[in-house]
């Protein structure tokens, strides 16, 4: 049985839904899921329907990690000695922006909670607005490209590093292009006691502008260009990286409408060069190149 039932209202090719399938395949049924407001909540729970075959709670946008803290201590207070895992599955807006205070609190307090951010790099549910996780030069509805702009003028926030700075036992990144990698990391995370943070790259055909049959391909290109590196950190140290045979960033950028202006506008070449430098820096820092 699929624990996120078919018939949910996600767009065709929704990366977030793919991520949830991979996550729940790894956790199994003995789990309580907490989610913020966002695409995942909206596509899965229009009352009286629910796509969730596991217990699931949504409270608000910015309090997911605090609600999960409450669920976790409640089970402890009731003396439940079972193996039920408490996990959060939230988008990047609810995680790296508005929810980062409650996330930081949960990580710092050491709750036995696995927080998983599905990172589609903008506020998709409200119509593709820029978040702190939007990459450099991506056009969104609030960071559009224009006569004097190349889109989002800030680099993507390094949330895994922020999570790791809390001294938590496990931080990892992954991508829906690698379901086995997600499965392995989720299983590893939930087996570790204490707070864990995972960030899964989930391309969004609607928001990024690519055909819905290319979600996995786009996800793989992000990894292969070193723009979304895949790695694990255990107790603050990098313990594994996904090695890649690196491709130039153009291959990733050119298949998405959100970067189309870089190939049309004067000065776009220089911008692409800057993005390539970011990829180069990622590859160097993490030793990604085969």
């Amino acid at each position: 049985m699929k624990l996120l039932a078919p018939g949910h209202r996600g767009c065709a090719g929704c990366g977030a839904a793919i991520a949830v399938h991979s996550i729940l395949s790894a956790t199994g049924k003995d789990v309580i899921v907490v989610s913020p407001t966002g695409c995942l909540e909206v596509i899965s729970t229009p009352y009286p329907e629910s796509a969730w075959e596991v217990p699931w709670i949504h409270s608000l946008f910015e309090n997911t990690a605090a609600v999960a803290s409450g669920v976790e201590v409640a089970r402890r207070a009731l003396g439940r000695k079972d193996e039920t895992k408490v996990i959060c599955i939230g988008g990047d807006g609810g995680t790296v922006d508005i929810g980062i205070g409650s996330l930081s609190g949960m990580l710092e307090r050491g709750h036995d909670v696995t927080y998983i951010c599905y990172d589609n790099e903008a506020y998709m549910n409200t119509g593709i607005q820029r978040s702190g996780s939007t990459p450099y030069d991506a056009a969104t509805t609030t960071s559009p490209a224009g006569k004097i702009s190349f889109g989002n003028d800030r680099p993507k926030k390094n949330t895994p590093a922020i999570a790791a700075a809390h001294g938590i036992p496990y931080v990892a990144t992954s991508s829906i292009a690698y379901p086995a990698d997600i499965g392995k990391k989720v299983k590893k995370a939930i087996a570790i006691k204490g707070p864990k943070y995972l960030q899964i790259h989930t391309p969004c055909p609607t928001g990024w502008g690519f055909d819905s049959n290319r979600t996995i391909e786009v996800g793989r290109l992000a990894v292969e260009t070193a723009l979304f590196p895949i790695y694990e950190m255990e107790n603050g140290k990098i313990t594994s990286v996904k090695k890649i045979k690196r491709k130039p960033v153009e291959e990733y950028l050119k298949v998405q409408r959100r970067f189309a202006h870089l190939f049309k506008k004067e000065g776009g070449d220089a911008e692409i060069k800057k993005i390539q430098e970011t990829a180069d820096a990622n590859a160097k820092q993490l030793g990604l190149d085969m």
């Binding site: 629910s50 409450g70 409640a74 409650s102 710092e108």
Partner: protein, 390 residues
């Protein structure tokens, strides 16, 4: 009976209610309550998980998660902290989670003030929380025990705010009768939630409702408030039978039966008003008191009945809805609309900790008597306004 601080009394009442999860963020003048509870946890005097969160927003959110997971929960806050919780207060009520909170009453910034008024809880009036106001330390703590019973009642399932005036009640030392655990256990059965987050029986909490269903969810909260109107009275009576103390149901009356002028107020000022009434009665002025205990649900019928024989009412508000008047005054007048021709005067006073004395009360009554004679009514007036600093 022991002479103890109001905050300590509240913490003791929370202890005997045996919450599983307590989550709070420190803010003056709520701190003594949560410090006392922390010490109880540290000493093993209470078997609760105490979650030291990074904000009030997370304090209430932890309670939301813990309540949905099937536990009895408690938090306490005041002023800015309560305002920060605002969004989550609606959420807790809409999700029908019977969280109990002590809402210490304090003014809101700007200008910053740590002192008492009731602007903070008034501003959370429409969140769907039951709001009960306490007159003294004993009532603030006894009401916690009643609050859990009200909140957890199956056809209510709404969170309850027990409001107590900051400093005036939190920091006062008063004789307080404490509780025998056995008696509390008999009065307040263990929390037995209807719906729980549990993998053995997966349920979805916090779905969204489209326009074809949202209204019905809101209506059900309103229905629960109507049930609470009756149940608050029943539980106050049960508490009297069990513990011998009574503070009124939705309202309480003091020398009100033959009063021509009735004062309506809530919170710690009630004690001052009672003393002032005794002195005015000795001078032959027929004045009485309606203490508003339940602000939400608002006791419309009870107030109508209680006001029926009066010629004038004076409504005290330690708050103001800017651009209009005090919130209690608005609510009382609305309750009386079409039912009473009583002369109504509203006063804004006690803001940011300004003292309310017996003389203040007497002056307001004098104004009411004058208004009845002259027929001239100033509906909303600031009391003791220092015009020289304006």
């Amino acid at each position: 009976m022991k002479v103890i601080e109001g905050s300590y009394a509240v913490a003791e009442a929370v202890r005997v209610c045996k919450p599983h999860v307590i989550s709070a963020y420190p803010i003056t003048p709520q701190t003594h309550i949560v410090e006392t509870l922390s010490q109880m946890v540290a000493d093993g005097a209470i078997k609760a998980e105490y979650v030291r969160v990074e904000s009030e927003f997370s304090a209430i959110s932890v309670c939301i998660g813990a309540s949905a997971a099937g536990t009895r929960t408690y938090t306490a806050t005041t002023s800015q902290g309560l305002a920060l919780m605002h969004e989550a207060l609606f959420n807790a009520a809409g999700m029908r989670l019977p969280i109990v909170m002590t809402a210490v009453n304090r003014s809101l910034s700007a200008p910053l003030s740590i002192w008492n008024d009731q602007q903070d809880t008034i501003s959370q009036r429409d969140t769907g929380w039951i709001q009960l106001h306490a007159e003294n330390a004993q009532e603030a703590s006894d009401t916690i025990i009643q609050a859990y019973k009200i909140a957890e009642y199956r056809s209510i399932l709404l969170p309850v705010m027990v409001c107590m005036d900051g400093y005036i009640l939190t920091h006062v030392y008063e004789p307080v009768e404490l509780w025998e655990q056995k008696k509390v256990d008999a009065f307040l059965p263990e929390f037995d939630p209807v719906h729980v987050l549990d993998p053995k029986k997966p349920k979805t909490f916090g779905a969204f409702a489209d326009p074809s269903l949202y209204t019905e969810f809101r209506y059900m909260v309103q229905e629960a408030m109507e049930v609470a109107k009756k149940k608050i009275v029943d539980i106050a009576n049960e508490f009297r039978d069990e513990f011998g103390r009574y503070y009124g149901g939705l309202i309480d009356e003091y020398r009100a039966k033959d009063a021509e002028t009735l004062i309506l107020a809530m919170g710690s000022v009630i004690g001052t008003i009672k003393d002032a009434i005794d002195e005015m009665r000795a001078d032959g002025i027929p004045v009485g008191l309606l203490k508003i205990r339940a602000y939400r649900p608002f006791p419309v019928d009870t107030i109508r009945d209680a006001v029926a024989g009066a010629k004038a009412i004076i409504v005290l508000d330690k708050n103001i809805s800017m651009g209009y008047e005090g919130a209690l005054f608005t609510d009382v007048k609305s309750a009386l609309y079409g039912k009473s021709g009583v002369t109504a005067l509203g006063f804004i006073l006690g803001l940011g900790g300004r003292d309310i004395t017996k003389q203040t009360i007497k002056d307001m009554v004098a104004k009411a008597l004058e208004a009845m004679k002259s027929g001239k009514v100033q509906e909303c007036e600031f009391v003791d306004l220092r015009k020289e600093v304006l």
